[in-house]
Subunit: 325 residues, 4 copies
C-alpha cells in the first residue's frame, strides 16, 4: 500500500483526491492536512465521505509518507515545501502552478517533471517530484500535442474555453455566487491566462520552432464541473492525414478518445477521459476538447501520475463511471 499525505485538505482538488483514493486498491490515506479544519472529521467538509473515510484533519505533517499531494492555492506550494521537509524518498505531486515551468522547476537539488502523461510518461515514471498540469492547460494541450509532434502548428492558435465554477475553488466569491453565476456567462483573463506558459512550453517541447501566438479566451460557465474548449488554426495538411496522426498519437492512451463526430462536455464528466473531436472547415482545423476539470484536469491526473511513479497500472483507481447526465 502507498502511504499518502494530502496538504490543503479542505479544498476541491483535495476532496476529489479523497473520493478517488477511497476506491484505489493501493492507496492508504495517512493524513489530511488542513490548518483551518484540524481536529474536525474530514467528512465534516467533504460530506459525501461520511461513512467512508473516518479520519480527522490534522495540522501535523508526517514527513515519512510515500507520496504527498499539494492541494494548496497557486503560489503556495514552494513556501510550504520550504517550511516542511519530507523524507528523502517521499514523492511530491504538486497540483498548484509553482513548479510547472522549467525555469521554476528546480527544488531541493531535483527537478519537478511536468506531469502530463501523454507528453512525459517516461520521465514521470522515474520522477520524484511532479508538477501536475492546470485544468485548462490539460484540455488545450491534449488538443494540440499531435499537431506539435508533427511540426504542424504554423499559424495563430485560437482558443475559447469555458470552465465550471469548481475551477474557482471552494472559497465563495462574487463570480461564483449562485445568483450571479446561474444562467450567466462571462470571460476573464482574456489573452492573459496563467496556463498559457505551460501550454507554450509543451508545444515547444514537441515542435522546437513553435513561436506562433496562442490567443485564449477563458469563460466562466453556468455549471459546476467540466471544461469545454474549442481551438482552431490554419493547416496546410490534408485533413485525413491529420485525423490519422491524432489516432496514432493517442492509439495506446487509456484516457484520450479521438473522433470526427460531434461531442459535448458531459461525455467526460466524472471521468479521467479527454474526448477530442476533429473537424475541417476550409483551411482551418477545428479541435474540440473536453475534460472534467477536477479529474483529468486535476486530481485524477495526479493519481494517474502517482500510478506511473509507483509502477502501477496507469488506470488503477481511475476506471470511473461517466456521469452520463
Amino acid at each position: 500500500m502507498i502511504n499518502i499525505g494530502i496538504i490543503g485538505g479542505s479544498g476541491y482538488t483535495a476532496g476529489e483526491l479523497l473520493r478517488l483514493l477511497a476506491n484505489h486498491p493501493e492507496a492508504s490515506i495517512n493524513f489530511v492536512y488542513s490548518t483551518t479544519n484540524a481536529g474536525s472529521p474530514v467528512a465534516s467538509v467533504h460530506e459525501d465521505l461520511y461513512g467512508t473515510l473516518d479520519i480527522n484533519f490534522t495540522d501535523t505533517v508526517n514527513p515519512d509518507v510515500d507520496v504527498v499531494f499539494l492541494c494548496l492555492g497557486h503560489g503556495k506550494s514552494l513556501a510550504f515545501l520550504q517550511a516542511n521537509a519530507f523524507s528523502a524518498d517521499t514523492k511530491i505531486i504538486d497540483l498548484g502552478n509553482d513548479f510547472r515551468l522549467a525555469k521554476d522547476a528546480a527544488f531541493n537539488g531535483k527537478t519537478f517533471v511536468y506531469g502530463l502523461p501523454e507528453l512525459n510518461r517516461n520521465a514521470i515514471k522515474s520522477a520524484q517530484y511532479i508538477a501536475n498540469p492546470g485544468c485548462f492547460a490539460t484540455a488545450i494541450q491534449l488538443a494540440l500535442l499531435p499537431l506539435a509532434k508533427n511540426g504542424l502548428i504554423n499559424d495563430t492558435v485560437h482558443v475559447n474555453a469555458t470552465t465550471g465554477s469548481t475551477g474557482a475553488g471552494v472559497m465563495p466569491s462574487a463570480t461564483s455566487h449562485h445568483p450571479w453565476r446561474t444562467g450567466n456567462m462571462s470571460h476573464y483573463k482574456a489573452f492573459n491566462h496563467q496556463h498559457l506558459g505551460e501550454i507554450v512550453q509543451s508545444l515547444q517541447q514537441l515542435q522546437n520552432d513553435f513561436d506562433d501566438e496562442v490567443l485564449f479566451i477563458p469563460n466562466r460557465g453556468d455549471f459546476a464541473r467540466g471544461i469545454f474548449a474549442t481551438l482552431y488554426t490554419k493547416l496546410n495538411t490534408d485533413f485525413e492525414l491529420v485525423v490519422k496522426l491524432y489516432n496514432e498519437f493517442y492509439e495506446n492512451e487509456p484516457f484520450v478518445k479521438v473522433t470526427t463526430s460531434s461531442i459535448n462536455m458531459k461525455l467526460v464528466l466524472q471521468t479521467n477521459n479527454c474526448f477530442i473531436s476533429l473537424e475541417q472547415h476550409g483551411k482551418n482545423i477545428l479541435i474540440t476538447s473536453v475534460v472534467d476539470n477536477l479529474v483529468k484536469g486535476a486530481s485524477g491526473q495526479a493519481i494517474e501520475n502517482m500510478n506511473l511513479m509507483f509502477g502501477l497500472e496507469e488506470t488503477t483507481g481511475l476506471k470511473l463511471k461517466a456521469a452520463g447526465f
Copy 2:
C-alpha cells in the same frame, strides 16, 4: 414626483427596487445609502443600471425625502431608525422583519402596518409606516387567506416551499456557492422559519379562532429567483365552493390569479403576480402558490405599498413583462 431614499443600497432588494423604480413614472431617486459603497456609482454594483441610473451611493441620509425604503438585513431596521431621524412626514417602508409582528410594530408613536395589500389595503393607504411582508410569507398567506377569511382552516396546514438563491442575499456563503448549489437541493430551518409568526398573525386576523399548526419545510432550490410553495389541509367543505371563495376573494386583485389548472414557478418570475392553483385530493385541498421572491416577495410589493400610500394606481410601475423562460 415622489422623492425616494433607499437604505442598504447594495443588496438584492435594493437593486430590484432601483430596477423597478427606473420605469416608475412618479418615482425620483433622491439618494441610495450604502456605507460600504459610498462614493461609487450605483451602477458599479447594480451593473444592469449602467447607462440608466447615473448616481453614486452616499453615506448621507436626506431626512426630508417623501419615502424611504429600508433594505437592511433582518433585525437592523430598528437600530437604523433609532440612529437616523426622518422628517415628520416621511413615509417608511421596511423590507426587513423588524416590525412585522403586532407586538413589535410600535415606533415613534405610530404603528407599522403589515403591508400585504390583499389583507390590509385600506390600512396601508393611510399608513405612514409599512412592514413589508417576507417572501415565503407572501406566497403562503396568499394561498391561505381565502380559507381563513371564511373560517375554513380547521386542521394542520402542511407547507413545503422552495426558494431561489437570491433569497439568501448578496453576501456569498457556503450554501449559495455555485458549485454547491447548482444541481442540488436541501432544506433549512424546518418547522422553525421566522416567517411563521407573520403568517399565523394574518390567519388569525381573518379567522380569530385559528389555532392549528402550520408545519413548514423551507427548501433551497437550484435557481436564482422564485418561490414554489405547496400547501394542503383537510377541509370539510365542497371543493367547488372553495374555488368560488378563492375567485371571489381575488376577483378584483390586480396581481393574484386563481386557477384549477396546473401551474409552475416560471409563470410569475420577474412579475408582481402570484399564481394560485387549487386541487382536490380526497379530503385534502392542495394549494400551489408561486411568486417571484424579489418582486411580489419583496421590492415589487414594497412599491405596490408605496403606490397605495401615495394614492397612485396600485399597479403603477408594476406592469412587468413576465420572464417566460
Copy 3:
C-alpha cells in the same frame, strides 16, 4: 463471468447499467436490444461509452444469457416477456413497474421478488425474477423501513420529494424541455403517484397493521439527477431511541448512511448510496432521504440485486466515486 442481456437499450436506465457494468469485474455484455437503434453502435446513443464499449444494438434476443435486465417503459415488461422466452435458468431483473406489487408478481410459475435489498435481501439471493423498485419508492422506503420494522408508524406520513429530469426518461417532452425546466419547479401526480403502491406494500410487510395515509407530493426539479425527499410523521417515541433504531437497522448496510446532521442531495449523486438524516421537531420526526434516481433508484440497485442473485459481494462494481459537485 455473467452473460448479460439488456432490453430497451436506448433509454437512460439502460445507459446507466452499461456505464456501471463497464467496470464490473464479473459482467460480460452479451447483447443490448433496441428495436429503434438495431445495427447502430451502442456508443452512438450512450456516447460516453465511445472507446469503451464497441458493440452494436441488436433486435435479436439471446435467450440463453445468465441474466436479462428489462429497461422498457413502465407497463411493457410483461408483454415483452410474453413475446420473448428465455432459458429456464435465465434470471430476470425488471426495472419497470409491472411486477412490483404482490398481486402482479406471478409469472411463468414463479414469483417476482421485490428487489429492495434492505428489505428482502435473503429472498433476493434465491430469486430468479426481481422487480426492481422505483426511484421515489426507494428513497421513501429507506426513510421509513426502520419505523415500520418497529411498528412505529401510527399517523399520516407526509412526503414531499423532488426528482431530476432524467426521471422522465430519454424521450423529449414539454416538461423536460430545457427552456421550460431550467430555473423552474412544479409538481405532478400529487397524492396519486404510482409508487405509492409498492411503498405501502413494503411498510405493511414490516408493520402488518399499517393503515395510515401516505400523502406524497412529487415535484419536478431543475437538475438532471437525484431525488431529495422529506418525510414527517407524528411519533410517540423518544427521539434518541429512534436514532438508535435507524442505526441498528442500517448498521451492516453497505449503501445507507444515517446521520442527525443536515444533508443535501449532491452527497449521493453518481453513487449507490442513500443518505438519511433524522431531526426531531416537537412531536414530529423529520426524515430526509436522498438517492441518485439512476443509481440506487434504478440501475445501481439492479446490479446490487444481480450481485446478490449470483452470490457476489453486494458492492461489486458499485464502489463509485461520489459526484461531489
Copy 4:
C-alpha cells in the same frame, strides 16, 4: 391603437411578442394565428398570460390589420405570404430569415428592409416590410458596426458566441432535452451558421471593401435565455480612438451601452439592451457583446421596428426591468 396580427402564435418569439405587447400602450392584439392550437386560449400555451390576455388562437387571418408579425420557422414566411394576402397597407415584420439578404428581399413589388435600427433606422421608418435580424446576428453586428463604419475591419474576425436553449425553439429535441442540456456545453454549425450572410451584408453596407473572413463558432449554453459573444480582430488603430468611435456611434442609441469594464450576460436579460465591452490585448481588440436572444435578438427588436414604422417613440413598450438575477 395599432391593430396587430401574429402568425405562428405558439412559438417562443410569438409568446415574447405577446408578453411585450401586453404592456405596449398603442398595441391592440387583433388575432393570434396558430393552426395547431386554433380554438384554444392563447394563455393555454403562453401560460403566464393567464388573466392578462383572454383571447383564443385562430386559424383565420384578418388581412386588414395594421401590422402582422411572422413568427414562423425559418424558411416558412415566404410560403405563408404567398398563400395569404394582406391589405395594401398592412405592414409586415418577419422574424424569420426568409427576406434578410438583399438577394431575397423583393416581395410583392416592394423590398424588405433589414430591421436593425442602429444600421437602418431611417429606411425602417418608411418601410412597409421588415426582415427582423437574427439573434446571433444582432449581437455580432452591434459589436462590429462602429468598426465597419470607420473602415477599420481589415483582418479576420474571430467570433465565439453561446446561446440559450430558447434559441432552438419550442419544439422539444435531443439537444434541448433538459437532462442533456443542463450542465453541458457543445457547439454546432461551426463556421457555417446561417446568420453569417446577414452579418457580412451589413458590414459591407458600412465598409464597402470589407472582404475578410468572419470565423464564427456558435455554442449551446446551459441557460434558457441570452447570447454571450466575444469577438476579436487585429487593429492598427489606437485603442482610445476606437473607444471614442464606439461611443460616438452609439451616443444616441437608446438600447446600446458601451463600456470598457467587464460585463456579463445577465446584465441584459429580459431587456432590449445590448451591452458592449471593449478591451485591448496587444494588436487585438476584444469586443464582448450580450443581448437577450428573445428580446433585442427577436421580439423586442421587432417591436422597436414597429415603433419606428408607426412613428412612435422607439422605446415605447420597451422600457423593461432587467432580470438582475
